[in-house]
Subunit: 712 residues, 2 copies
């Protein structure tokens, strides 16, 4: 009762406010704002939800679905119908075949459609049931009903048509939290970890429930609670109890809990004498540990492992393979139907032989292991072969391991794209990778891509994501994990309407800003296929000059290879030949700079400064043009937002205006520093009309960013 | 307009809600909730505020005052009067002598009263002005008007009488943030630092303004932004610009910004060759640095310094005195009217001679320096001689430095009292210290106590303080800094009414809980004057057995000195004679265990286990009784809260219920572990009726708390 009443009053409040300026919002409600609809939309929605009917006994999941429908209707309409027990005209009916025998009947026209939707799919349909006109949310399971409820609310809130059916194309749709047990977050730019490990398990923050709601609304069905750079303590009884408390909150929303496992855990806890994956002692320890975890969390998802990468322990410490390590853990969780996600982000350990090209390494290590992994192991591969750069070609492992199910790992948090201050809608990045993947490695990928993992940008900040617009990246990830063929623009339209209201004066300009934003960042940071030229460690700001780090492949100069003669990393047969790792049609296309997409040009080719670009400009002039374009577009983003001021509530307007102002300054910094540096290398003059950097190169080199966030 | 309208609607919402269960609150509004009054109170308040009149030009400070009055009235009454330019019957009139000549007139009866109130005092009076009945908020300055406005709102919200005058008894009322530049907070249990150094100066969170409002409402007039364990970078241009952005937000609210200075800053920044305070190079550097800071922050407050303590650099590194160091910095800020607060929390540096008793050390170092400090130096002394223990006798330096202005440093954050999970209202701790101080060292203290500093418990948590009840400690600190003679119970009544509403069924039981709470913690942690027996480093949980730390005075066994023959630290002439540092009347009283308050018994005396207590019990039996009392009272706190369930909104009820459940478990842990340990030492049996600890001593010794919060 309390929820309904408050929500109804909140709706009243907002209706009364509608004539005044928009009320301030802090972003906590994410895309589940449920603000009052206009009169016509209200009438339409109301006609479909005069009552809410759930045949059969309620479950925690259907309770969540009904509560969300009531919350949403109270917000959008000003009042919500109470649950009713009998089907009547205008009912919003939630039903599974088990709950409503009509759906299971051979004569039912929906039976066949439902059969195609699997355990998690749903359909929304205006139809007749028991002689009444109803709006039906149907699914094969309660979780399908919850997903359907969110879909129905989303459609109601955006004015989209209220008739659809949908099922997820990938079975694993996970967030990866790089959250440490001390609540710092590696590469986190939105406050602390939302997991208050200290307060758990006794104290369960309301935020955990709202986190579950937001994720369920997107269809995310799993979350790895802790950083891939994991600690042994997470596998001890106190932390298992804490994880179990989180799992209890998330369970009704269809979200399984997973943990990142440190490979050397039993050894470091001094409970075994080795961490060798073939040691019976070690195998028995993990088996017992899995049993202990499943006792506390019966639907525990499994382990995510970063092994033999960047100093993390792993099976190679014992001269075993990644498959030996993964399969040992897989055997421990298999009796409980758990899985192991084994990350392919590896590069040669310190002191070992370095591949000539770091981009080659994961493929070289993992491709030979295809077919050797246990059935419940997935290999989790980053979207690109280096590391979450503003733009990378897709990772060559996609399509190269036909016998191994793969996860694609995207980074939602913007480690390399301006943290949570710069606007960069990543829907276009996700789309670009998923599209190129589909186009180029065809069947093999489609058959083996089993899930998507997104490194979360969620933190304790009131707005969850560090900025209002960074919420869209969480949203886009979730929507694309459900449907990897979804279009970034469609998702942006949906998100903008849900987040700022379905106002035709607001949504299109915001969508245009979003669609422009990531390309803007690419242009002022790393145009034309440049990559990994950012500051050391914190990864903020330009530092293409860095050449003194311990490992060659930590240095920006390793990647851009700029010199008096030209710029770019030659990955053709004349160079590292990383191209050979791609399917032949791709390798052929990218072997020639003329047929290589310009956006990847310097990723694959080292070219002279006077190389003739399709624009008619030299490469040098083109590079300068791109940097200028990035800055101009950053300024345009700010100007477009300022033009929206009368239509946005003051709080969110001001928050984003301050960030876009900062972004312009960041763009100037990147443009000027990179131009100053590359000019010092090329020795070329700036063409007429190109503004010289504001400071000499040494100034940019002298800048430092102590206490930058995100270093966990 | 936006604020008024939203506030009015919020009030309407709440009025409509009044018949239902209380609406959920998350605590963000602190004690400035301004919820609707009952009808009679509304009529009374409304009659005094039919209009708001501010003669003369508005200033940022009067704008803040008028906005707060409008916000408060909109909330409490459902609507707020607009500012009016003419005085009329029923006006709420804000005036200074400069704004309203009548107040300055020789004939004004208020002139003399105002003259006694200083720059920051105010008076509230129902009187006649220009022939109209008005409610007058009068002060000598705009900041006095702001303080008066908050006082008037506080009275209106609690139903207290609306007529008073008040002026602060201490001129410096400061928060000390132990906040690091990476947003971790040393001894912080409420999220990250509220200062988002990375986002500053461009991005200024709304929270900074609400922080200023909350502090101004208590009369807090200064804040040290960064940890006393400071870093050199805070004195560099980028961080000065960030501090200046914060100062700009706080300035209208009468709050000055201060910074903690690391003594070796110029040396560590490689801008001098030494940090010797007598070096002309060093003196010139700090002078230039002060000039640079004051250029950015014209009303910068000054420096707080922790020197030669716990590894921090200081003047003793150069064989100079604390006075040499403090006076050097004081000379740098003196031309700008800045001050230096020099902390007296020192104990012998590693490797140096250890005093026989750490409690003696600050006095031994600082007493001889009395009279040698520059006029703009204050010595900041913790409330007790060890370190913010659940209970300590007041620090002997109070009363011992008649020629030096002193600050008293309290810890609002509960490093030693159960973090932000256990309920412990510190008003009683503050009162106990301030009372004993006043009683015992009389004139000397009153004449030299110039300020109070509270180590803040404020963080990024939505509720600011880590729990709803921890807000009361911020509140009590502020109210006592304004008036050190204020009573803890009165403050609790005020806070509870503002925080949970002036409901007679709610306020008295909550106040009773608060008044019981800190004694409860003392009893289950450190009864009878025990101290410093907590876990190493994180300071959580019991660890009286620890005896293996590098320095003797880091070990709990150093403090409790329990052995087969008895327990307690002998600080009489037979022991360390720390008592000699107190005024003779105190030293005499505490020299005899029979006349020593029981709460300090084992602080000053080592007594046999069979020592006869006034209760008739042996010391051993009394100790057990206290531990049992602490646990019983923790259970009582929980039970009393549960009884209030129907009267508290669900969210705040649940949050606190979970914490009180945890507190009972913490109390069991402390009781059982301490009894198990002290029994192992005393070798004595438990008397009949005393429950044995649930586990053997080794179990308690085996517990560890990895990743405990607050280690910054």
């Amino acid at each position: 009762m309390r929820i309904n009443f408050s929500a109804a009053l909140a709706a009243l409040l907002l209706t009364l406010c509608a004539t005044a300026a928009a009320a301030d919002e802090d972003g906590y409600d994410l895309w589940l704002r449920y603000r009052p609809l206009d009169r016509a939309a209200q009438a339409n929605v109301q006609s479909q939800a005069r009552s809410i009917v759930l045949p059969g006994a309620s479950s925690p999941t259907t309770q969540a679905a009904v509560a969300e429908l009531q919350r949403g209707l109270a917000g959008m309409l000003g009042k919500a119908p109470a649950p009713a027990s009998r089907i009547a005209d205008g009912a919003l009916l939630l039903a599974t075949p088990a709950r409503l025998p009509e759906l299971a009947a051979a004569a039912s026209p929906l039976r066949a459609e439902l059969a195609t939707l699997g355990n998690e799919g749903y359909l929304l349909r205006q139809t007749r049931v028991q002689g009444h006109n109803v709006t039906l949310i149907a699914a094969n399971s309660d979780i399908g009903l919850l997903y359907g409820a969110y879909a129905w609310l989303r459609d109601a809130g955006t004015g989209a048509k209220l008739e659809a059916s949908s099922a997820p194309k990938l079975s694993l749709r996970l967030l990866n939290h790089w959250d440490n047990l001390d609540r710092t977050v590696e590469r986190g730019y939105s406050g602390q970890s939302i997991w208050d490990w200290w307060a758990l398990p006794d104290i369960k923050d309301q935020r955990y429930t709202d986190y579950a709601r937001a994720n369920a609304s997107l269809g995310i069905n799993g979350t790895v609670l802790n950083n891939v750079n994991s600690k042994p303590e997470v596998m001890t009884a106190p932390f298992i109890a804490k994880a179990a408390a989180v799992a209890d909150v998330l369970r009704p929303y269809g979200i399984k809990v997973y943990l990142s496992a440190r490979f050397s855990t039993p050894l470091e806890l001094k409970e075994t004498s080795t961490a060798d994956p073939l040691s019976p002692e070690v195998r028995a320890w993990w088996q017992r540990k899995a049993d202990e975890i499943y006792k506390a969390i019966p639907d525990f998802g499994g382990f995510l492992v970063k092994a033999n990468s960047e100093g993390q322990p792993g099976p190679q410490d014992y001269h075993r393979t990644h498959a030996d390590g993964a399969n040992m853990l897989a055997a421990a969780v298999a009796p409980h139907k758990g899985i192991v996600m084994w990350r392919a982000f590896v590069y040669a350990p310190k002191g070992a032989h370095l591949a000539d090209d770091r981009a080659r390494q994961a493929y070289e290590e993992f491709k030979p292991l295809d077919g050797t992994f246990a059935a419940n192991v997935l290999v989790q591969v980053k979207n690109g072969a280096i590391d979450f750069q503003p733009r990378e070609p897709f990772h060559p492992l996609f399509g190269a391991m036909p016998k191994t199910p793969l996860m694609m790992e995207f980074q939602i948090t913007k480690e390399y794209l301006g943290y949570s201050t710069d606007m960069a809608y990543l829907g276009t990045l996700f789309e670009e990778t998923l599209e190129s993947d589909t186009k180029t490695a065809a069947g093999a990928v489609a058959n083996t891509l089993s899930g998507m993992a997104g490194v979360a940008n969620i933190g304790s900040d009131r707005n969850w994501a560090g900025s209002q617009f960074d919420q869209s990246n969480w949203y886009a990830f979730g929507r694309m994990a459900w449907n990897p063929q979804a279009k970034a623009r469609d998702i942006a339209v949906e998100w903008a309407a849900l987040t700022f209201g379905p106002d035709k004066r607001v949504v299109p300009p915001i969508v245009d800003m979003m669609m422009l934003s990531r390309e803007t960042v690419v242009n002022y940071m790393t145009p034309l296929g440049l990559h990994h030229i950012m500051g050391t460690s914190h990864h903020f700001g330009p530092a293409p000059w860095v050449d003194n780090l311990e490992r060659p492949d930590w240095n920006p100069v390793y990647y851009h290879r700029a010199s008096r003669d030209g710029i770019g990393f030659d990955r053709t047969t004349k160079g590292s030949n990383a191209l050979e790792q791609y399917a032949p049609e791709i390798a052929r296309q990218y072997a020639d700079p003329k047929t290589t997409p310009q956006q990847y040009l310097l990723w694959f080719h080292h070219l002279p400064w006077d190389y003739a670009m399709p624009s008619g400009r030299t490469l040098w002039a083109e590079l300068l043009t791109r940097y200028d374009q990035g800055l101009a577009d950053a300024r345009a983003l700010h100007a477009r937002w300022v033009a929206l001021k009368p239509l946005i509530d003051a709080r969110r307007y001001t928050e984003e205006e301050q960030r876009l102002t900062r972004q312009v300054n960041n763009a100037i910094l990147w443009r000027d520093a990179c131009i100053a540096y590359f000019q010092s290398v090329s020795g070329l003059a700036l063409p007429p009309g190109v503004q010289a950097p504001a400071h000499p190169l040494d100034y940019y080199k002298s800048l430092s960013y102590p206490y930058a966030p995100g270093r966990g």
